[in-house]
Amino acid sequence: MNEIPESRHHLTKRIFLEAIESGLVGQRLADRLSERCGSDVALRAGVEALLRASTVEDPLCDLVDQPRLGESDRVNLAAGQWLGSYQIETLLGEGGMGVVYRARQRDPIERTVAIKMVKPGMDSREMLRRFQWEQAVLARLEHPNIARLLDAGQADDGRPYFVMEFVKGEPLIEYCNRKRLTIQERFLLFGTVCSAIRFAHQHGVLHRDLKPGNLLVTDDGKQTAAKVIDFGIARLMDDGGERLTRVLRVLGTRPYVSPEQVSGDQSRIDTRSDVFSLGVVLHELIVGAAPDLDHVYCSAGSAESHSDLITRPSKFFCSLDDPARSRIADDRQTTVPVLQQLVTGDLDWILMKAIGKTPAERYGSVEALANDLSNLTAGLPVQARRQTPMYLVKKFLLRHKVTSLLTLSTISSVLLGFGISLYQVGITREAHRRSEQLRLGMVAAQKQTQQIVEAADLRLAAKAISDGDFLEAAEMLDRQNEVNSAALMNRTTKNSLAHTYLQKKLEEFGRSRYQAPLSLHTMAYDPKRRTIMFGGEEGVVRVLDLEGDGIHELPPSGQPSIGSLTFSTVTGDLFAGGSDGSIKAMSVVQRASWRKICEFQSAPLDFCVSRNGDYLFVCDGSADVSVVEVESGQVVRQLRQHEEGIYGISISDDGSRIATASKDQTSVVWQWPEGEILNQTSRSDYRLVDIALDSAGKTLVDGSVDGEVRLVDVETGKSSMTIRVPSAVSSVDISADGKTVVAGCRTGMVYCLTREDFKRSANDKEYASTLIGKSQHQSHDTRVESCLCLTPESVFSVGRDGRLVESSFRSNTVETTDLKSKNDRIAVSPDGDWIAAHDYVRVELVETATGRSYALDAELPRAEYAGLNFSPQGDLFLAAKDGRIAQLTLPDSEVDDNVDETVRSIAAAVRVFDAPVTADYAELRFSHGGDRMMLFSRKDSVVIVVALPRFELLFRKEVPNAYTADLSSSGRYLATSHIGELFVNEVDGGRLLASSSKHHSETTNDLRFSPDERWLYSVSNDRRIKRWDYRSAEIPELVGVQPSDLPKFLSISRDGETLFSSGRGPQVWLWHTGAMQKLFPVMPSAEGYFRTYLSADDSTLIGLDREFQTKWIRMRLKN
């Protein structure tokens, strides 16, 4: 290597650079070098070598300068390749975030599209999710000047791509310059851009990445049109909001982004951010270059006014050199003085206002900007200019705040001084009002969008929960929590039922039991398994009471940071290893103070204690286990077998076996007190980081940095079974019975694997591949430091994120019971505590809390039973086929006097009524107050409404071919159907209020009024779920299409926001009524359902499946 002495290095560099920059060649260069280097031959040789090198091509060093296009052929797609249903035609270009191709779509329609392929490394999953929830919004952007976003997908290598309408165009500025468009023509073109942006804003969509490259001009010779591309993409790619935006600031596209986008303050980005970008583009269109905004970006946080930071466009133009100015003027078919004159004045003001530093300084809307441009063209006063003197007046007033007794005349004179007439102030107000209106329109559109977004978030959260990604699910739900708590939604209850349900489900799967401010390192449970002790960087040991829920601190051990904790089984003493190398002990029972046992040079990585607490087995990073006598604190023995450092150690409950895992890629099992080796495992592929023994010491589990989790039979040391998890294992544990293994990983993921899993995946590749997804929980943000497996339902883990998390891996929230006999009538009590069912002759009650079923001890009419239901007051109404109705008053569930546990029966008081119209009533429904009841008979094609409690007939209607009917919550309206036709009658007076003749193309299966009586929801064999604003007599709206089966039953939450539909399909679907979107399925049942009901308090969803099993789930926690 060529060593250039330090002092000479810079001399060489200076001469070299000077020579290069002088542009001299040949003899003149040689002369220059002679002059500079004099007689120093070595110096000259050095410089010459560098000069030579600077002209030599070098494949390695020049890679960075090669055009990126086409060079990256290994990464890019070739023509003819397929990407989903699109065939790549050619590479169009490459930008900061990805490459763009022209491609051909064949199916379902033949068309040319542009495909934007995102570079690897972006979080494609998140991006596609965003696409999913923005799709509905983006799909509405149908405008001649907006290129539509058509589709999104994921390439085989995982990279996401977006499919857009293909625009054969030229970037706006290049087009204008090439065509030498006049300023006037540029304004016109710019105006169409503004109208497109305005349209999008009205639909609640911001562009966020407006720049000349995203504004294309198509020109087919006859017509010129501007097209805005990439709408919404910026937001899709804006992964994690703030975070990437800041990276983009380094690598991204200044100067078109607004200062608030640069600062990453998402909350401040609104329509005016797009106004800023348009302003910069306009600046470039007019004076030939974008303004110098460096100061603006740098001072994003300061209060400095923009006018001090940005050069006025006129001045900017003036500052350019002569050739540039004449070229710019020439491109605009004008002369330098004319252009200069044009810019100076109103145009200056317009541009300055558009690119104001803060949103408040800018135009309130794109329309206002466009209006000012047309005002300018029409010779009218511009808004930008009018406001500025007002601003100065305001400033003037502020400056003289002390003398706040300014008279009106003073103000007038100030105004007059600035030459403002009241008339002009009026114009300003009008313009201001209009732009304010637009903004409000945008807010309204956003509100609408909000519901769509909420539905999508809920969908994604449900998906994330089923994927085991709880952090993601929590993030989604939290996001909606925030939105909901903001007043925007104007709800009565805070969260929708669907949201509450997911939150509850999430909590069942895993919950954060404690959040420490610093990272947590270790955990141990006491021998009785009643408490878990945990500690970490804070140097505090905390105790979690497993039976209660409380957490308390132990007295400080004085160790700066706690790295490991362990218990002695017999004495119950707790030992703590600190980062200062000390190991201390305390009796938790006696609450004595900590005593120091011993001290090592470095912090012990892991240790365990003998059964009776006599000896500690310490791994201090060396290859040997140091055996410390607790009494003396001395190392009395070394267990020596490993070749490299030991990272983990574990001891069996009886203390006779100790297992160690080492960097040498093996695990060793020792016998204690003999200290002999019982077994050494085979070599793993990578270093082992942790080990655990079951309580009998018969099975060990170890984990490697390569994600290998091994289950080894200690006796033989042989039959090891391996499951590979996708990331480096940082901690392992095995349940006391040796049946369940947990592994915590560096990614924050915790895996729970059973012995059965190990056996099956050894033989069944397919099983192994699906196993991981089913057994994972994203319990932490970052590295899991320690995990403990009590049972599969209760796995604890601590991580660097400072969280103590309890996860459940075998959570089954669907309760089920076998009913004694076959029937298809069930009902749920309003509080969700009881399910009633009958087998035509006997009534059965199921307690949802316990799943126990009870017979009914009551004097019931001897007859075959038909429909049954609970009234809002909790009485059970039971219809007999002979037209008699029994009203049963059940005992209060709080008072168990009437519940006879020995014979499993419940006593109830019975009153029997005769229905005013005798029929076989299959369906009983109540008004919310319980003062009216609807009885519907399909068999006798009649529906009646009676007043309770005396069964006075209020309404009667013959309903041939009806499958269902519903009574509104006030009891004033009744809905019925005739095949696909719907009717709403007024109960009082019987008037037909509304009818909808072609509501469904097939039989209507169920009807439900919304609680506010505004909507009538219906499901039909045409699979459609519709809602109808029956009072305005409009045509019904489609809520959705039931996936994969015919919807038969409907339920609706109390707030009317969540709709449930079930049918013969294997699950019950939830729908978001605001967004009119499908949410997620609940309560799976392989057989499908006969009927499903939601309890009046929203707490319980019940279903009778086609195997005659009653199933139920809790939708929210009971109060």
Binding site: E6, L17, L50, D73, R243, L251, E537
Partner: protein
Amino acid sequence: MPGPPPRESTESMLVSVYQELRKLAAHYLGEEGSRETLQATALVHEAYLRLQKCDSRWDNEGHFFVAAATSIRRIIVEYAREKRTQKRGGQVNIVPLHEFAVGRISDHERLIELSDCLEVLAVQDAMAAKVGELRLFCGLTLVECAEVLDSSVATMHREWKFARAYLVANLHES
């Protein structure tokens, strides 16, 4: 009770960036085996997002990119060394470099030398070496370098011109 964690030195920051990138690179190239090449810019982005998520220390991207460039260089050289010694037998086919599929560079010897040259240069001329590293191993443009190193584009231009000449001269001689 310990106070807040002490501010870490540049070297320890480097260590964490290095580990993160190393892990990511291994993840993409290693067991998954799905990718033959890796774009360093993408890698850096991902590492940045990950680190920044759990650590506010990375609020300054400048520091981050400087550390990332050094890390990427180390990773690449490691792979190259590995390839040269063929210890793991063809597990990793491709040396990842910046934007461009450097799979074509079969000359692992030269990659390692390039890295060594940069180290020597760094002793005498930290700025030129930094620019070289950011350019060659992180794929940054001069404008981006200026951003990261908080300097002007003109300066970056000069430093790069020199660094390139220096590297080519020394590479050719060896």
